[in-house]
């Protein structure tokens, strides 16, 4: 295939995946959103404002850091970390919320809603809402409210209302359901900032485009620092926004392998995991067709991961397409392996990664040693681990 990659089609399809599977009330709002997005995508004023915010408010470009000690210890490929953990609010999520909030403002919306799992997207949304003076409501599964209480407090400080969702499995998917319900009820004044490359078209394409700054920077930085393109990209996949953000600008660079890391929880074989690409099958949820974790009757099953941000039964439809076409590979990492990745990076490089990102670190620990010393891996360090201190301490029986 030499053709330039050009997905999705105009109705948001990545092959059989993606699309607009929504109730009628949401059809008009997503069409309006798409029109606004298409308009501002090429609007010089919009782009200038976005770029200025990314530079002065988020702190971009984020460094591409050569983790020399870690690379040496693992004894193989040179590992470069794309430092999204250094962004304002501590994760890649703000790249997207800044973009969507500017759109909301241009569309004249006065109220912002969001769903969140780990709370990183909720914090990033509450942050931009505070800055723009917009009302903000964040839906969060009750289970996640309990395990990410630090982020709940941050959101409240920022002036957001956090609603604990008690339905279903009380995690990210249920928060998304509840946000969609809010949106159909308040479509006139409300902008829904989805935090990952999920949801109906145009969200998967729009969130990708806002996150693609990760890969654009990384590609140039790698050329500048190492004098060539990397051999492999590694990123964790929850909904898949940090991964697609890194991968997308490299899709036409055929020599660059792209590897997404899903959460295997207690292990794929136990059924207690969050790895739809590795162990699920295609279906329709939250507005798009993609790989899902479901039972034989098409009911969505409960997921498990130590990291709230990966605890989601679906995945962005573009990843489903990249998997089927073989352009990207998807692997999985258990909770215990992720913890090894967490500790290894912390002790070797003095960088404490988020538990989500730790899955990418753990896979890098398997991949780097089987590659040669002159090969390069770029790993997306999607967020910092401060939010996970409680979870970690609890696991080790320490009271903070």
């Amino acid at each position: 295939m030499t053709e330039k990659y050009n997905m999705p089609d105009e109705r948001g399809h990545f092959g059989p995946y993606g699309g607009m599977f929504v109730a009628e009330t949401l059809m008009l709002p997503i069409q309006e959103l798409n029109a606004a997005y298409q308009q501002y995508l090429d609007d010089p004023d919009f782009i200038a404002e976005l770029d200025a915010d990314l530079k002065h408010y988020v702190g971009r470009p984020s460094p591409l850091y050569h983790a020399e000690r870690w690379s040496r210890t693992l004894g193989g490929a040179q590992i470069y970390l794309k430092r999204e953990d250094l962004n304002h609010t501590g994760a890649h999520k703000i790249n997207n919320t800044i973009g969507q909030a500017l759109l909301a403002k241009r569309m004249g919306k006065t109220r912002i809603i969001a769903e969140t799992g780990a709370g990183q997207h909720g914090v990033a949304t509450a942050t931009v809402a505070a800055r723009l003076g917009l009302e903000c409501v964040v839906y969060m599964g009750a289970v996640d409210v309990a395990r990410q209480s630090l982020n709940v407090y941050r959101m409240k400080l920022l002036g957001a209302k956090v609603v604990a969702v008690e339905s279903g499995s009380k995690t990210l998917k249920d928060a998304l359901n509840e946000a969609l319900r809010d949106w159909v009820t308040n479509v006139d004044n409300t902008f829904y900032i989805i935090g990952t490359v999920a949801g109906p078209h145009p969200y998967p394409a729009m969130v990708r485009d806002f996150q693609a700054i990760i890969g654009r920077e990384a590609r140039q930085q790698c050329l500048d620092q190492a004098g060539r393109l990397p051999d492999a990209l590694v990123a964790c996949v929850g909904g898949g926004s940090n991964a697609i953000g890194l991968f997308y600008p490299f899709i036409d660079d055929r020599s660059v392998r792209m590897i997404g890391v899903e959460a295997a929880g207690d292990g794929i074989e136990t059924g207690r995991h969050s790895a739809p690409l590795c162990a699920g099958r295609p279906g329709v949820l939250h507005g798009n067709r993609t790989y899902l974790m479901e039972d034989d009757d098409g009911e969505i099953i409960e997921t498990h991961s130590i990291s709230a941000g990966l605890d989601y039964p679906g995945v962005g439809p573009e990843h489903a397409w990249l998997k089927d076409t073989g352009r990207a590979q998807y692997v999985n990492i258990t909770d215990n392996e992720a913890l090894e990745g967490f500790h290894s990076l912390t002790r070797m490089e003095g960088i404490i990664p988020a538990l989500e990102s730790s899955h990418a670190m753990a896979y890098t620990m398997k991949l780097a040693p089987i590659m040669s010393k002159d090969e390069i891996i770029i790993v997306c360090l999607s967020g910092r681990g401060d939010k996970d201190m409680q979870t970690m301490a609890q696991r080790e029986g320490i009271e903070l």
């Binding site: 699309g19 599977f21 929504v22 009628e24 998917k173 006139d188 098409g298």
Partner: protein
Amino acid sequence: MSRLAATFEALSKSGRKALVPFITAGDPRPDFTLPMMHAMVEAGVDVIELGIPFSDPMADGPVIQRASERALEHKMSLRRTLAIATEFRKTNQHTPVVLMGYVNPIEAMGYEDFANAAQRADIDGVLTVDLPPEEADECVALLKARDIDPIFLLAPNSTDERIKKMDAAGSGYLYYVSLKGVTGAGHLDVADVESKLNQIRANTRLPVAIGFGVKDAQTAKTVASLGDGVVIGSALISKIEANLDDLERAKKEIVELLVAMRQAMDN
């Protein structure tokens, strides 16, 4: 002529409107549904919408969400919903049954297997909340080839263009969701519904059933006068929820509400 078309035509000839209850299959227990369906027919309903339980009912309010959860606790599924419909048909050949739900259980079964199974169960219509006409070509073709009516939703913000699209893709009737929001939310605004119905009528000749927010006999009467039928969901399911320890009483209260609506609508 399909059973749905015949039902709406007969009603129209006698100057009456369709009373369309919605219950979730298997709520609160699988064995409650079949006798409830027969009792609703005796109470005077014209069409039954039977909900397929789904783990993630994004367009539903808390009442119908909990109905799904109760049904799923008893392992209710699309297959078992079809089995209930099959049983119902053994003793009732005249009341149309419309399956209503989300598309994923249907995708999991496979569109073609589902269409065949629905035909065997003598299902009259299928309404999938999250399958708009844009994504429905394959499913609609399979259903229509088996004389099953695909039923689409219209909303307060549906444009002329979209109403025409539903008119082309759908058959049997169109379902007008009378307020922006989830099922079971607030009360509908009659003046709004009336003006919207004028717009809908200008773009389709299909019968229009109106639902969302109809809770009592008086509203049912008013709404019925604006459309061709009225759908009652959360108000019925609330009766189940309020009487989980006495299901005979739940059934009785549902029948009483439907009888009151029937009388109000016919007078």
